[in-house]
Symmetry: C3
Subunit: 273 residues, 3 copies
């Protein structure tokens, strides 16, 4: 099933509009090309509606937000909604500053989001709102473990019901949930945390997968999570004893480029809950 | 001949002022170093004139333009004109939004450009102006092929006459034309399209080649196009079965670093028209 | 001694707030991860105080400064001072434009800087002020050599006395000085100059080392300089005949990731003056 989803990304080559941070933007562009999609980056208020209009999907990432780009995110998101394009939100650092939390909440409230992807802290900040942010941050420092898995899935599903979005919580175990179902995904490698922006790259890739498979957003997003994790595993297998996180960064994107539908079908490790 | 042009880049190590996008800026800096030049990136309105003044050439790329940097591009371009420095324009995405089209046209009208480099859509947008942009975009989606080569060369030459610029149209076949002559260049590899910013990198490198060889702008620009394409070929030859577009990106820049004048002379594949 | 300093970076994993340029920001993030620290990039005026507050140290780099981020640098720096966090300044291009010089001087005057790291031109510009910048730039074009070493150390020490900062001057020979002592460091490889941003990366790494070893800022900064230079040597040893500056960039960060405390102790080449 996931193999067909990837095949459709490759066949339709969706054009993805990215309003994203300047730290990991190059990797986001290259991973979109690697998976078979095409990237456009544009964040000026005067052009984001037009750029979104010529694209198939929109990826919003608040990693280095600033006053100008926040308005651009809102404007592009509304246009994408008007056109029925999928919109992915990556609320990088929500909870770490009032600006990030309030921006993420504005995006959540003013735009229909197809997918929200973050770590557990970021997603809880969005779900519980700005008021309790600091406490939530402290509470959620722990990774999602077998012990907290069921309650985290329940939390993700409730947030999916409330927002109408697919909720992706990434960590040691990844969760992809909509209002009805949840995937628990066990692909990936801990070393991925030593490369800046693997989360940003995943969000960009989710935008591509979902744009190419709009009729099936949950499965498309889950397929992207499996694909990224599987490529993290394959990239790790390629490491020599001189390689570190810089080579690993390249190997992950290389693996995304080389990933075949068949490999994805065979390598995806998930269960439904 | 191209070998001597490269030798002069290495010998004179031109300092290039870049006002460019935040997606591919790091690769532009590293490819400038790889070819023997030095990069400076600066885009604040209050410093672009001074920075341009200490450099030998200016590279303007509108890939992620915004209201502040547009004014900086114009100011830097006028200063470069005043000083007689070569100016290269890369009109990334001209035709994709009114802001890009109108900015590219303002730069074309207000600045004497030594070289304009883009794909066929971008260059046609500049040549035909904003009014017909959408139609032009649709018409020019096709690659430059053997069938359309003569008419495209004619178009490039006419645009060169009108602007006084060297016109570079890159694609499956690359064209470099001034008012008198045209190079058809057949270096390169299709896989270069899977790396974000190979066009941006080429524009930066053209700025270096032309700055070091000002008496000979057409040949210098054509040499840079051949060099980039040849390095794309050499980099592809180095690919293993695990490598993808991320490793390829590095191999291209590595090849630019290793390229010798003699290799460039022997490997350049072009004919004059 | 330097080994213990590195061990403490790894053990305490300091979170570093970076307000830095968009050219080399990705490499700065990955080298911070490589050395055992964690990066956050944030530059909007409305969030820099909060972000600095959750971090342990602040790294300010003026490589692509603009009017908005200058105010953010000052605000973040004052907050870091208030909280007693180490602050590193990398005055990229000070002397190349009035905006850079005056910004670097404002940062120097309004913020207590733990460490200032630059090349000899940048540091002299800061020490002698804007008035004499052009002349100073011309005078200091020469590298620090054995002949000028003693006078340069004396200059660094005097500037350290005046500012209360650790002064790091990097070049063929690196100098790390506070008011009492100076390290002359002979690690590194000339090829590091062919990679954009090795200086920026070093400044980020100094911020991590000093944040984890606050009781010992001079030695921590000197350890970071040795570590970066040693990794440049190790990375160079790994180069094949096809590799150029792009692969070297990756190998340096890889080497930082792989560097062990014992290797640093054995490989550090310095003398005290």
């Amino acid at each position: 099933m996931f193999g067909e989803i990837l095949e459709k990304v490759r066949r339709t080559a969706p054009l993805i509009h990215n309003i994203t941070n300047y730290v990991t933007v190059n990797d986001c562009a290259n991973i979109l090309l690697a998976c078979g999609a095409s990237p456009i980056m544009a964040d000026d208020l005067d052009e984001v509606e037009e750029i979104t209009s010529i694209c198939g999907g929109l990826n919003i990432n608040i990693g280095t937000l600033n006053k100008n780009t926040i308005e651009s995110m809102l404007k592009a998101g509304k246009k994408a909604n008007e056109l029925g394009h999928p919109v992915v939100l990556d609320p990088v650092g929500a909870g770490a500053s009032k600006l990030r939390t309030s921006t993420a909440l504005r995006l959540l409230n003013e735009i229909r989001l197809s997918v929200i992807r973050g770590n557990i802290s970021e997603i809880k900040t969005l779900a519980y709102g700005a008021g309790t942010t600091k406490g939530v941050d402290a509470d959620v420092a722990d990774k999602v473990t077998e012990e907290t898995l069921d309650s985290t899935i329940e939390f993700a599903r409730e947030f999916a019901v409330r927002t109408g979005s697919v909720i992706i919580i990434t960590g040691a175990i990844d969760i992809a949930a909509d209002k009805d179902r949840a995937f628990c995904i066990r692909n990936g490698h801990p070393f991925m945390g030593s490369v800046t922006g693997t989360g940003c790259q995943l969000s960009a890739m989710i935008a591509a997968y979902v744009t190419a498979n709009r009729e099936n957003a949950l499965q498309a997003a889950a397929a992207a999570v499996c694909a990224m994790g599987l490529c993290g595993e394959k990239a790790f297998a390629r490491m020599t004893e001189l390689d570190g996180n810089a080579s690993y960064r390249n190997y992950i994107i290389d693996a995304v480029y080389r990933l075949t539908p068949d490999e994805l079908d065979r390598g995806a490790k998930y269960e439904m809950r």
